[in-house]
């Protein structure tokens, strides 16, 4: 079976094809105006015929980008929104705040609502907090709405009523009536998306699904057609934001799952590469030009979050890989604030105008420029282009060094250190902040800027070992070919543990599991090949924030409930720093996760070196470390292989990036040509 994984990055599209024996790797420029063109070119360039492919798996940033820019090739759907009377503005008011941290800005603004006010409607209906329908939706009112909607020509409709998570009748009745009048457009109810407590999350999520539905359907159709034109006969899968895959029909139904697809591919690649090397606890680090994404892998599976937001207080209540992103990367701008503080980012020079040294009009000092000044980047980029060192030097002097009364190199190294501390702190947010000791994790780094700062970031985190994946784009594409199918089903089922209705709990869990199995079987997964587990969102009675507890029992009786309670108390201590076992505990949401079994991972292997590493030494140059220039060896990664080891200070140059080995660190290549950095 010929499988092809595709990673569509901001600049390059990478492909990885394998038939189990052979591997074909391709790289091509991303074509933003017609993404499938870039994908096809990359695959064909790698020597694979589109018609021979059995399975094609790809990630896509289309959903995230469309939502951020409210634009899909110059178009945006006319989505109408219906909610309970009295709440049509709740999606715009959200939680009534514009600042998270108590910083006041009298000139501030709130995020644009997902759906404009004149596209929002309401119906009289009422379900109470016990799930009783107190007032049914009125057919006449719906008819009036239909008349109005006919004038509006909607592309999709979102329906979300207060308390529908307890009783979906009114939502479903409304949908039924509207679907009669508008049989050809997507009409989405919040209970179909996620029958979960707290209306705002359902309002946002159902709106996102309604908005993305026509967009993703169109996009997927286009992809399918352009592959068909090339006589593609295989199956097409996409990568979801939770790090699993699904088929095209599934994503057309649940397009919100495509959000976060890009970073998820990197996380899963890290999980697979690290796992293959025997590491169960990993911190994946994706360091790009404009952002830095980190994620925790614990016990061989990545953490997920339900707290992703498409804007401030706009929660998307679908499980996603828990990727924390900060705006620090090679393109981050170095600047001085009004108080004379040296700052790095979050503004970025981006791809255009880019860093000063690229000579594309950039005039703001960036982290990449700082690396050039310190000799960490070759002034000719390995002979590919002449970087403008003098201009960088001049601008650093004028904008930073002079006002600070320091020399240029001190400032450049300082700025890099600040960037590294910021990146390390992003790791703290997902480790120490949540009761995890980062020192028991292995950082696995990807992305162009990763190798440049790996040693320093590791020092800041306090770890003594880190792994660099040789070609991150390819690694992500490879990860795509090995991702399992995944899905989930969930609902709010509040019960205090000492009063839990076991029969109800067990039957609900069984129903959720059936749904999960059905969703996977439909996509072609054999039932015997499906693994499921349960997730309970729990809290002390009276609290309002839950902690997720994983568990895999089929059926629950009192002793299993006690075990859950114990697990919860442990987790509360770990995540929140304190617990109290005498307080009663409640389950709020239950969820069943399902996935196809993980396939064997096979990484490319390289022969042991039969020549000394000095053969790969291509140059020596002065590189700045800890306040002085040191004569430093420069190695060619292409010429290095398994068992080669170099000691810092050293530079290893790769085709698109370079690896800086700091003093007191060594770099050793393993049989897959991963670089293992170790502090000595």
């Amino acid at each position: 079976m010929l499988k092809v994984g595709v990673d569509v990055g901001g600049t390059f599209t990478d492909t990885y094809a394998t038939d189990g024996e052979n591997v074909w790797v391709g790289k091509s420029l991303t074509t933003p105006d017609n993404l499938s063109e870039g994908v096809i070119t990359a695959i064909e360039k790698s020597g694979v015929q589109i018609k021979d492919i059995d399975l094609l798996i790809h990630g896509s940033t289309i959903a995230t980008n469309a939502l951020i820019t409210k634009n899909y090739y110059g178009w945006w759907p006319n989505t109408l929104f219906i909610t309970s009377e009295g709440f049509s503005d709740a999606i715009e008011i959200r939680r009534g705040r514009n600042q998270l941290y108590g910083e006041i800005n009298m000139y501030g603004q709130t995020p644009e609502p997902l759906i404009q006010r004149n596209n929002r409607f309401s119906l009289r209906e009422k379900v109470d907090s016990a799930g009783n329908v107190i007032e049914e939706v009125n057919k006449n009112e719906i008819e009036n709405l239909v008349e109005e909607f006919k004038k509006r020509k909607p592309d999709s409709i979102a329906i979300v009523f207060i308390n529908s998570y307890l009783n979906p009748e009114n939502e479903l009745a409304t949908k039924k009536e509207l679907q009669k009048a508008f049989p050809d457009i997507p009409i989405v109810t919040s209970v179909e998306v996620a029958p979960k407590f707290r209306e705002l999350g359902r309002m946002i999520t159902v709106s996102v699904r309604a908005l993305l539905s026509p967009i993703i359907t169109d996009y997927m159709n286009k992809i399918e057609n352009s592959f068909k034109d090339k006589a593609f006969k295989g199956d097409l899968l996409v990568i979801k934001g939770d790090g699993g895959t699904c088929n095209i029909e599934y994503i057309k139904k649940c397009p919100e799952m495509l959000i976060g697809s890009g970073p998820a591919a990197g996380v899963v690649a890290g999980e697979l590469v690290g796992g293959e090397l025997g590491f169960k606890n990993i911190l994946t680090q994706d360091t790009g030009g404009t952002s830095y994404d980190v994620c925790v892998i614990e016990d061989s599976s990545h953490l997920r979050t339900m707290e992703y937001e498409v804007g401030l207080d706009m929660p998307l209540i679908v499980p996603m890989t828990d990727v924390r992103s900060i705006g620090t990367g090679g393109g981050s701008i170095i600047w001085l604030d009004e108080g004379g503080g040296l700052r790095v980012g979050p503004q970025s020079a981006g791809a255009k105008p880019g860093p000063i040294c690229y000579g594309m009009g950039g005039t703001q000092p960036t982290v990449t420029d700082a690396n050039l000044l310190l000799g960490r980047i070759d002034r000719t980029l390995g002979g590919k282009m002449q970087l403008d060192y003098d201009k960088v030097n001049e601008i650093f002097k004028e904008k930073l060094a002079k006002p600070l009364n320091h020399d240029v190199f001190e400032v450049a190294e300082g700025a890099i250190n600040i960037a590294c501390v910021d990146m390390a702190r992003a790791n703290s947010l997902i480790t120490t902040s949540r009761g995890r000791d980062p020192r028991s994790y292995l950082p696995v780094l990807f992305g162009g800027a990763g190798g440049m700062h790996a040693c320093k970031i590791s020092d800041e985190i306090g770890v003594k070992k880190a792994l660099i994946v040789p070609n991150s784009g390819v690694a992500s594409a490879m990860g795509a070919t090995m991702m399992p199918f995944s899905t989930y089903s969930e609902k709010t089922l509040y019960s205090e543990l000492d009063q839990t209705d076991l029969e109800l709990l067990n039957s609900e869990l069984a129903a959720l599991k059936q749904q999960v199995i059905k969703d996977l079987v439909v996509q072609g997964v054999r039932e015997s090949n499906i693994e499921t587990h349960n997730e309970f969102h729990m809290r002390y009675v009276g609290q309002n924030y839950e902690i997720m507890i994983k568990d895999s029992n089929e059926c629950y009786d009192q002793s299993e409930l006690q075990e859950l309670k114990h697990k919860f108390n442990e987790a509360h201590l770990k995540e929140r720093g304190i617990n109290e076992i005498k307080f009663p505990v409640a389950i709020v949401d239950i969820r069943v996760m399902g996935a196809s079994k993980q396939e064997e991972v096979s990484l490319m292997k390289y022969p042991r070196a039969d020549f000394p590493v000095e053969i790969a030494l291509k140059d020596r140059r002065a590189v700045y470390f800890n306040g002085e220039f040191i004569d430093t060896p420069v190695y060619d990664f292409e010429q290095m292989t398994y068992t080669h080891e170099v000691f810092g200070p050293a530079i290893i140059e790769m085709s698109n990036s370079c690896l800086v080995v700091n003093e007191k660190w060594s770099a050793r290549l393993d049989e897959h040509k991963n670089t293992i950095l170790e502090r000595r």
């Binding site: 009377e85 009295g86 709440f87 503005d89 709740a90 715009e92 008011i93 959200r94 009534g96 705040r97 514009n98 600042q99 941290y101 108590g102 910083e103 006041i104 800005n105 009298m106 000139y107 501030g108 603004q109 709130t110 006010r117 004149n118 009422k126 109470d128 907090s129 107190i134 007032e135 207060i162 308390n163 407590f197 209306e199 207080d313 009004e338 108080g339 004379g340 503080g341 040296l342 700052r343 790095v344 006002p403 400032v411 300082g414 250190n417 600040i418 501390v421 910021d422 702190r425 703290s428 800041e460 002390y540 009276g542 609290q543 309002n544 924030y545 929140r576 720093g577 304190i578 109290e580």
Partner: protein, 627 residues
């Protein structure tokens, strides 16, 4: 950048510390909220946290309610003065309004932070408890003596070497309406201070004790001070007056004035409150800590948005409040309304004064300048016991020179607090949550429009006693540079037959120049019989600039989106729009705008009380709901 700013640390270390002092309070904040057991903390976020150096200088904070910030330093200092030798594992609690507190429900917990046995600073968490006893629901008594507002704790040891003061806990449980929340809320407050200590240790491990505790704390303060002073220096020297008023004191019906002179003198701001009203009989007296807090947040939000708030800012501000003023409360004058009510009036007065000082492009309309804090006790049919619910319905923000004000957004006073979710409200309290809409036409007209307020309504499932502080019922929040006032607020009781009774403020049906039916807008224990609903129409923010200069397309879009009605467009903006086609009549608009621009009546109208153009029936969702 100023040459004379000399930080002792190198720029890199300083930046790491700056980030650290921001990160630590964020961690505290998150953990307090997630551990808490009361909706007013976890759902509303009416709490704040801060960290101090060894000498009790504020070095970092994270506020649900920025008003707490300035005031918390007073509280922490009072605790440290009482217990200068706190040991590891100690915690001190206080709420005394005259000893560093503000109003009694704000409970402050202070713990020392130690690193390997060495003292390195203090952590502080202040949270608004749902009830601390006294004569009214949620301690909102509107009495004339502080004793009516519940227990008052002088700085007292809550925990000694890790052991909780059981006596104190039980004593407090005995005074309050919801005793089962006391232990959990203390756990959350102490727990988050512990997290501060843990994170501080981590920072010290990274950088060293001396660098963090001695040098870093001084540099961060110096840094904020220098930026803030530079901002002040850019404003022309002079004395600028600002005035606002409370509509009553809840007892006498007398209007009380906040009157301040804001002097810019080089890089220093001097504010004196000479001429403000004397101590009030009712509970709107503001303790000094609260008055300082209000000045601090209103200045920062306008002059230095985003600047790390710490001790450095105070150094550039000198505040004088005369003895005997209601802005300098003393025993036994009650203070329950000082925070959400009086402080918002101080803030508006500060903005109005600053508007005269800063260039026009920096001027702003006032926010709705009120927090609409209500607290209600409802007999819970499920348990038979009273249940307390509290919330802070939002209003609009003022417009500025580049854009409209924010719609239905929390006042700066409570900027990171949260509105209650309908489903949480119904799940946790015996209520039907019925409306949460925006209120058209409530934003002050202007070249840029003030944000609109909201229409808020819920129905208790049984008899309810409601205490509430509100204002802006006589006249809405002011605009700037010719921008109009926002709409007035209404507080109503919806009767079972669908009619409305005024419970506070203006009589619903009387014209704007008639205040004869006006009732005091600060009241406790108003009875809502089973079957009635509580309805609140909140005000918007003030407008910026002449409404006749507002772009016609923007007015048209406001009408299309329903932020402004057709009548509002005509009366407030001079824009004539056809009801059915929504087409602007350009000729008539031009004529009307010309006519209005010379009209004294129109200008007078903009600076006076405004109200809704749309009939109440179309605004308030009114339908029978069974209990």
């Amino acid at each position: 950048m100023e040459d004379n700013v000399k930080l002792s640390l190198d720029p890199v270390t300083f930046e790491v510390i700056r980030g650290g002092f921001r990160y630590i309070p964020r961690r505290m904040f998150e953990s307090f909220q997630k551990m808490s057991f009361t909706t007013i903390i976890y759902e509303i976020a009416d709490f704040s946290v801060s960290i101090y150096d060894k000498d009790v200088n504020l070095i970092g904070q994270n506020a649900g309610c920025p008003i707490h910030l300035g005031a918390m330093s007073f509280g922490t200092r009072a605790c440290v003065e009482q217990f200068p030798d706190m040991e590891e594992g100690d915690a001190v609690v206080l709420n005394d309004p005259y000893a560093g507190g503000t109003h009694t429900p704000d409970i402050t917990v202070v713990t020392p932070m130690f690193y390997e046995g060495k003292h390195c600073g203090y952590a502080c968490a202040r949270g608004h408890w749902i009830d601390v006893g006294g004569g009214g629901t949620g301690s909102q008594a509107w009495g004339t003596h502080i004793a009516s507002e519940g227990f008052r704790i002088f700085p007292t040891k809550l925990m000694k070497k890790g052991k909780i003061n059981e006596f104190l806990v039980r004593l407090m449980q005995n005074q309050v309406r919801m005793p089962d929340r006391v232990e959990g809320d203390f756990m959350a407050q102490i727990g988050c201070c512990r997290i501060a200590e843990r994170e501080m240790k981590d920072l010290i491990n990274r950088l060293g004790f001396d660098i963090v505790v001695n040098k870093g704390t001084k540099d961060i303060v110096k840094y904020s001070e220098s930026i803030f002073r530079e901002k002040i220096r850019n404003i022309p020297d002079g004395i600028y007056e600002g005035v606002d008023f409370t509509e009553s004191d809840g007892i006498t019906g007398k209007t009380l004035e906040v009157r301040l002179n804001l002097e810019i003198k080089g890089d220093q701001i001097n504010i004196n409150f000479d001429g403000s009203s004397p101590l009030a009989e009712g509970a709107i007296n503001s303790p000094l800590a609260n008055t300082h807090g209000a000045v601090l947040y209103s200045l920062c939000g306008m002059l230095a948005p985003g600047l790390p708030i710490n001790e450095g800012l105070y150094r550039a501000i000198n505040i004088e409040v005369p003895e005997g003023s209601f802005l300098n409360a003393r025993w036994p004058y009650p203070t329950i309304g000082s925070t959400t009510h009086t402080a918002t009036k101080i803030a508006t007065a500060v903005w109005m004064a600053l508007n005269k000082a800063v260039p026009p492009e920096k001027a702003i309309g006032s926010t709705y300048g009120e927090c609409n804090w209500y607290i209600a006790s409802i007999n819970d049919p499920k348990t038979g016991a009273p249940d307390l619910i509290s919330d802070l319905p939002s209003g609009g923000w003022g417009a500025c020179s580049t854009h409209d004000g924010m719609n239905a957004c929390n006042d700066p006073h409570i900027v990171s607090a949260l509105l209650m979710s309908a489903e949480v409200a119904e799940q946790s309290h015996p209520v039907h949550w019925l409306q949460y809409d925006m209120r058209p036409d409530s934003g002050g007209p202007g070249k840029y429009r003030g944000g609109v307020g909201m229409i808020f309504k819920f129905k208790p499932k049984d008899d309810m006693l409601l205490s509430m502080e509100t204002s802006r019922t006589k006249i809405g929040a002011p605009g700037t540079l010719g921008g109009g006032h926002a709409s007035v607020q209404y507080v109503l009781k919806e009767m079972p037959d669908g009619t409305y009774q005024t419970v506070m403020g203006r009589d619903l049906n009387s014209p704007m120049d008639d205040l004869s039916g006006w009732q005091m807008s600060l009241r406790s224990d108003i009875k809502f019989e089973k079957g009635t609903s509580f309805v609140l129409l909140t005000g918007g923010g003030g407008g910026y600039g002449d409404p006749l200069e507002r772009n016609v397309d923007m007015v048209k879009n406001d009408v299309k989106q329903g932020y402004v009605s057709i009548d509002g467009a005509k009366t407030d903006y001079g824009v004539v729009i056809d009801k059915r086609s929504l087409v602007v009549d350009i000729k008539k608009t031009k004529e009307l705008r010309e006519e209005l621009s010379g009209s004294e009546t129109y200008r007078h109208y903009l600076q006076g009380p405004r109200t809704d153009f749309m009939p109440l029936e179309s605004l308030i969702k009114n339908r029978p709901i069974m209990n």
